[in-house]
Symmetry: C2
């Protein structure tokens, strides 16, 4: 195994959703725009003040954070632990790849949206710029392994997707199951491992 | 890395507890004995019919399974996800090693017990017999790595404790966070990896 040079910061994603313009209006009212309250690690992305109820066949979450800005398609990202509670098990997908995924029901102050797709478990991934990619000797869509050198629950995550864009900032994203299994916290540093 | 010969079956532990005789009586009544309903992977261990409410400073679980037989000390094993819900974060410990761990409140049909210790995150571990240990070239208390060759969330768990006793059956134990993070299910096969 080769340890690629340079550390990468981790970001842990709790359950959240992205909304299409149409669904934002249906849930929050015709003239609503998202209200940013906190910048996220990726440039231009933010946590908004807005929250919705997410309802599955077996359970629900009262208050799930909407991330902005609006997107082409509504997408709900949960952990597998969350999915068991909702009662619907989505596949692991890259962000944006929602064809054939299950739907859930969203409820906001102005109305309800019955999604026929959009629920995913997010695939572990690393955002980086083309300059980062050159430095780490990887390219967009590569699959790498990541070492989390934590105390007591040291873990190597394989199946980690590399995502390269000039719009990205260098950051490793996992969900709460992955973070809790490995004691990884937002701000911790990880390393890329490339298997020989 | 050396892949040791032989596959090992995984067992996923949901939140559960073991009760000391005294606490069993306090929770379920003076003449109660545990009622086995399902054998577990380890010889002599069983899931009992009995369940208790587990209450932490921030949240609670209504109905947590008691595993039998009774033990010297009461011990409550949760995932880190569960711990966040309870509002108290225990350390990672080997089973039985509960000195200095936080307590929780247990409520049963006959009464309540306020534990002053006993809440743990279980350390990932592999139960095996001395014969297994010889075959895998490991010994009691060794720390090894485990490869979970699952589809889409392939993971190597490090910090895995080897536990050797003639009373054990060969089995790799993780909690639900670790299982959900790696897509590992009870009955799946894993491999020991020993780092050079």
């Amino acid at each position: 195994m080769i340890l690629k040079e340079g550390k990468i910061v981790a970001g842990v994603s709790a359950r959240h959703l992205h909304l299409a313009e149409m669904d934002l209006k249906a849930l929050f009212g015709e003239n609503t725009t998202l209200t940013p309250i906190k910048d996220l690690g990726q440039p231009g992305q933010y946590a908004s003040e807005e929250k919705v109820k997410v309802i599955g066949p077996k359970g629900q979450f009262e208050s799930v954070r909407v991330l902005g800005p609006v997107r082409k398609d509504t997408q709900v990202e949960v952990s597998l632990t969350d999915a068991f509670k909702l009662g619907v098990i989505p596949p692991v997908r890259d962000s944006g790849d929602i064809e054939g995924t299950p739907g859930v029901t969203l409820v906001g102050p102005a109305g309800e949206v019955n999604l026929n797709k959009g629920l995913i478990l997010a695939k572990r991934h690393i955002h980086m710029t083309p300059e980062d990619a050159k430095r780490f000797d990887v390219k967009d869509k590569d699959i790498v392994s990541v070492l989390c050198d934590t105390q007591g629950r040291k873990t190597i995550f394989q199946d980690v997707l590399i995502r390269v864009s000039p719009k990205y900032a260098l950051e490793f994203h996992v969900d709460t199951d992955e973070a809790n299994a490995s004691f990884l916290k937002t701000g911790d540093q990880i390393k890329i491992i490339k298997e020989l």
